[in-house]
Amino acid sequence: MIYLNSFLFCGFVCLIAQIILDNTKLTPGHITAIFVVVGAFLDTFGIYDKIILFVGGGASVPITSFGHLLIHGAMSAASDYGIMGLLMGIFDLTASGIASAIIFSFFLCFLFQPKD
């Protein structure tokens, strides 16, 4: 059942993005930025946590979960350290994603030549 929910949620997010891409002049760069902000907005009121409980891994795959993790780390640090915690904890949970993307792309670009 959780697989079906994952399929439907992740597909639905991609569907919305594709509809925006086809019907407006926004580029994919605009759309990913918009979706990150939307993910952060949804987690501000705890909606995204409920979605993750219901949908499972399907909610962690789209780029909206990036915004969700950013604000989640920020708020959990803010509950300990007050207003400075927002700055201290904002990369707490996304650090693995950003660091792994930097490291993989750094080392892989020495092994391969760009195609075309």
């Binding site: 759309i31 927002l86 670009c109």
Partner: protein
């Protein structure tokens, strides 16, 4: 990805050249409505329903793969779901980077569009293609300066958005 991003700009330039050409031919009598009908005629028509369906199915399968990897890791490594989802994200980023290096991913992104751009693989693809493209311009001024050329917008707007929303929530609702 790079070509795909700047495609709109090229279309605009082509259309502008076309407009100049027509104005020269007919003088200034060219009416706006006529021009718009010509633009409509020559704009390539994309099948929006087909694109949306492909994005839905491909994105859905990405979600299934994510959930499957979480189950796999938490079963074989005996770790809680939260750690397994970190493993899953790292795995998907590695797969995205590797397939971009092999050259498959550009074709797949062209086919599935948002079905692969919106999942975390799109982020990896953007970083990897920028790294591959700018490596020949040198280590510091090429690779180091341009690696976040496409993916940087995600991080910057995400951080700014998360900070503003976090501040609002802290002021309104408390920690």
């Amino acid at each position: 990805m790079c070509n795909y991003l700047i495609g709109n700009v090229f279309n605009d330039i082509k259309m502008y050249i076309f407009l100049i050409f027509i104005q020269n031919k007919n003088g200034d009598n060219m009416e706006k409505r006529k021009y718009q009908s010509i633009v409509k005629k020559y704009t390539p028509k994309e099948n929006r329903l087909y694109n949306a369906l492909v994005a839905f199915v491909v994105g859905g399968f990405m979600g299934i793969i994510g959930q499957g990897l979480i189950d796999l890791y938490s079963y074989f490594l005996n770790i809680p779901t939260k750690e397994a989802s970190v493993f899953m994200i790292v795995t998907l980023i590695f797969v995205g980077c590797f397939l971009t290096c092999l050259g498959f991913f550009d074709r797949w992104v062209h086919f599935a569009k948002c079905g692969l751009i919106i999942p975390i693989t799109g982020f990896a693809h953007a970083m990897q293609s920028a790294a591959l493209e700018f490596r020949k311009e040198g280590m510091i001024m090429g690779l180091g300066a341009n690696m976040f050329k496409l993916a940087g917008s995600v991080i910057i707007f995400g951080v700014v958005g998360a900070y503003v929303f976090g501040l609002l929530r802290l002021l309104i609702m408390g920690a």
